[in-house]
Symmetry: C2
Subunit: 208 residues, 2 copies
Amino acid sequence: MTEMKATNVTWHSSHVEREARERLLKQKGCTLWLTGLPSSGKSTTAFTLEHKLIHRGFASYVLDGDNIRHGLNKNLGFSADDREENIRRIGEVARLFADAGLITLTSFISPYRKDRDQARKIHDDSGLKFIEIFVDTPIDLCEQRDPKGLYQKARRGELKGFTGVDDPYEQPLHPELVLKSQTATPAELADLIYNYLIDHDFLPASAR
Amino acid sequence: MTEMKATNVTWHSSHVEREARERLLKQKGCTLWLTGLPSSGKSTTAFTLEHKLIHRGFASYVLDGDNIRHGLNKNLGFSADDREENIRRIGEVARLFADAGLITLTSFISPYRKDRDQARKIHDDSGLKFIEIFVDTPIDLCEQRDPKGLYQKARRGELKGFTGVDDPYEQPLHPELVLKSQTATPAELADLIYNYLIDHDFLPASAR
């Protein structure tokens, strides 16, 4: 415990302007919202892009089940209301990260159009870009991958409300990007997003 | 809407390591948790520090009523449970920001010791530093400032459960820093925190 004094004079009563953050980080904050069926490749794509961005000197962060479900959203279950609130909170946190200037990735099934549209709206309302990325992997390929055996459990009726089996996945109508993971590796998909970020001025041309 | 392919090969299945972020940002992520009475000077101190950090080239972000209460926590009221949940969510979001490598500031009254201790615990559990900063302004000075006339309203009984008037403020027992705002400007207080960050290796010595 320390008590101290100091000697300078200027002070501020409001947040740093977005432009000052952009100059510092040499990038524009935004949210890359990955959506798709379970095992479609969202997280691997997101992590691969995060690694590439950090390696190239850009600030980025992935929000995913690991760091959200056991923390911020640990008091939510899987009822309809809780699923909606889950995505609502993720949208709000992504907005904060984008506002802080980070290339923010979210990796959640987020099966319902209205929840994704709501996440887009709160970004729009803050003057921040929401980039919806549909990881468009055919369900039979997702089921073949199924690293945790969840499709199998759902097919046996041991898991209820599993997206793609007994709960709907509503495809995006106007996503900014569609990724076809059956014909490309996660690294190739990450590159597509990376190039999108350059093409749309979130990253400088020198990042190419 | 675009469909694309690409050509490289490496990929990753997990988050970027904390050390890689630290190298990129030339700083260590942490949470600076400002706590104190209404009008004690928390937000002005936080914003002043955020400006200084960004100006010096460090990534920082302030979580405060503006960007939390109208967004992530807009579905919370002021009941005891909602107040606890308010601080819980802020603690979780701060942890995510610190994990992303940012010098994260929170500016909330956060009057209850157990809520602050819980926020500290989730940082500890993630191997992240939680730096509790008590903005120790005497209540009579806070009441003199009272820019929004809230103390006046509370004294007239028009606001119920107002911290310092009819709801307790529990002082931190072992804060990392105590700021005395009656004898220093917000800029001086911000400098004290800035120097703390250097002294404790969150910022490089070259930042001095």
